[in-house]
Symmetry: C2
Subunit: 415 residues, 2 copies
Amino acid sequence: MLAEIITIGDEILIGQIVDTNSAWMAEKLNQAGIRIKQISSVSDDSEHILAALAEAATRADIILITGGLGPTKDDITKKTLADYFNVGMVLNYAALENVSNIFKKYNRPLLEVNRRQAEVPANCEVIQNKNGTAPGMWFEVDGKIYVSMPGVPFEMKYMVEEEVIPKLQAKFKLPVIIHKTILTAGEGESFLAEKIADIEDSLPAHIKLAYLPKLGQVRLRLSADGDDAALLQTEVDSYAAKIIERVKHAVVAEEDIPLEKAVLNFMAQHGLTLSVAESCTGGFISHLITQHAGSSQVFLGGVVSYSNQLKESVLGVQSETLQLYGAVSGETVKEMVEGAVRNFKSDYAVAVTGIAGPDGGSNEKPVGTVWIAAANANKTVTKKFTFGNKRLQNIERSAVWAFFMLINLLKEVEK
Amino acid sequence: MLAEIITIGDEILIGQIVDTNSAWMAEKLNQAGIRIKQISSVSDDSEHILAALAEAATRADIILITGGLGPTKDDITKKTLADYFNVGMVLNYAALENVSNIFKKYNRPLLEVNRRQAEVPANCEVIQNKNGTAPGMWFEVDGKIYVSMPGVPFEMKYMVEEEVIPKLQAKFKLPVIIHKTILTAGEGESFLAEKIADIEDSLPAHIKLAYLPKLGQVRLRLSADGDDAALLQTEVDSYAAKIIERVKHAVVAEEDIPLEKAVLNFMAQHGLTLSVAESCTGGFISHLITQHAGSSQVFLGGVVSYSNQLKESVLGVQSETLQLYGAVSGETVKEMVEGAVRNFKSDYAVAVTGIAGPDGGSNEKPVGTVWIAAANANKTVTKKFTFGNKRLQNIERSAVWAFFMLINLLKEVEK
């Protein structure tokens, strides 16, 4: 079963927002056994939307559309869909009630533009919007399914999970697609490819291997499709086991999770706690950790010690150390990480201090100079990195390496 | 001048990665006066790529392609481009030297798969890759420009900024597109639309207004196109001034910047410093602030006090307060924010404590209960919010409201 995604909105085409909806929908549909053939982003332009709909319908059976359902004048998706299907607009009373209730709840007057949000093309089945005012719309025309949803992510997500996928599953006998991802770190894509070339060559036609590199990490993803989920799972697991055995030293996780989640899982299993002392990463490491539910089991917290004063008062870094060696030094990062273990009473800690840029560098310590440390009560490891001159990239790379260094220290737990 | 973007990669279509390249390229091209007609994401499949190229060429003059240039077997873009143009592959010696140098630098053996990265279709002009091994390719065929670039963001970005846009500017006389964005907060899209309906109706055909809502904020974006940059700027500024006057109470910034950047700019102008005490936002507020260059002028740092122990030891929250009212309470958030101002010696502070979810709620304090505070030495404001049950959304909304509350407190500076 093939689907296409069409996202509508000038804001995407001028680059003002990143389209995160498509990736999310693609993942959910894939899990349900529906492959995405193409994702197209088009402008708030009736003719262009009509052309995109017609093209998508030649390639796929299911067309998911997001965006262009707001109350304002630049949003024209609904009228265009009515034109596409050659039908008129009708008022949907359930949708009107939903809009009215939302405005009542916030004590806002119901404006004419909002009332019009309850109008829909005559041939659609309305998907009520529990998180907003714009109704979703489900069309079945000439054997194709079209679903139009709001572009606001949490309105769309609710509809996809609670309404669209169950309806698609009820309607079609869907094929099975099994993915298995191995997260590696510290080795390049071509090194890994060379190491496992013979395994890759031995894969049957219905199993594919993809390499997904990102900032010092490479994800190896096996994808299999067919009818028998259990059989596919066994096949994929068997090839995955061969790959893992071959590049064991680089494997960080045997599932598709972010690096920091691999750290959290390991530490939770071993009953260990973590704290952080972040200077140039500015809270990013803490944020990566705490976005995961249940992180409080492992993570006690930490300090974003942007100023030297906080390094001294909260972490106990010696003012002499800062004066003699500077805030970006092996001596300072060592005192930071040990101060975190001591003051925050955690089993492990990581610390980062560096010059994220674009300014603040010197000849001796150029932009991109970063010191990272990982420690437990008995051992401290520090390392100097020289990254580039892009601020956000330096922050991200520093976080990745902090987790790497922590993982390597944690591996000693198992020895 | 119209362009299209084609991103290639199964990883996009199964939702494993979010395509951030397209938005970035779209923004840069728009600034250069090139409109993006469509963005299409297609699979690592030769036939599909050929079809996408042919379709894009019917709609646009410039086709930018990213992805599918890695050394591994699933990357087939280059061979497909040679087929599309009906040419053979040739070895590019400059590209080979680049690949060899990179492998030398990292003391890695140059593998056959890497050597093949220096092979390109015979009709292309090579764009050397200063940040990686895969060369970019520039094609001019039948009056259309095709540019193929790696999917790794920082490799692609360098090529677009340093090579592609300058070459396009040299080749075409580009029209001018002027955007002006007004950031508002605290009012809904339809309220704003009703308030400025007459201004919107009075806009000439070459100026468009778009509403871009996101988490309690709405961006109002005016876009004008024509030939005379100065004239367009004057026109857009004049309409923007009318809109700003009409909805002044909701305007947070008169340029396209994030909320936290508006805070940073205001505080830097007034020589004020900020610290934070984050519990359920877990470092996200700090990260939003510190991703901006120069934030250290305003931001002293803060604490991610995930555990109660850190709330007490670093912020000086009374253990009785935590016992009597709980960590998620008006009393605790007040002590947190005042502790931050006092201990971190900042002019202002914000604090957040709540239940981000999905677990940890109770009848009295359900998931989504969040207390937020903003304070200076003389005044503390606290407010309780009841958000939903999605962890990341609760974190994001809490951060937005923390900045709102801070802005409102900061506005008193000017009174």
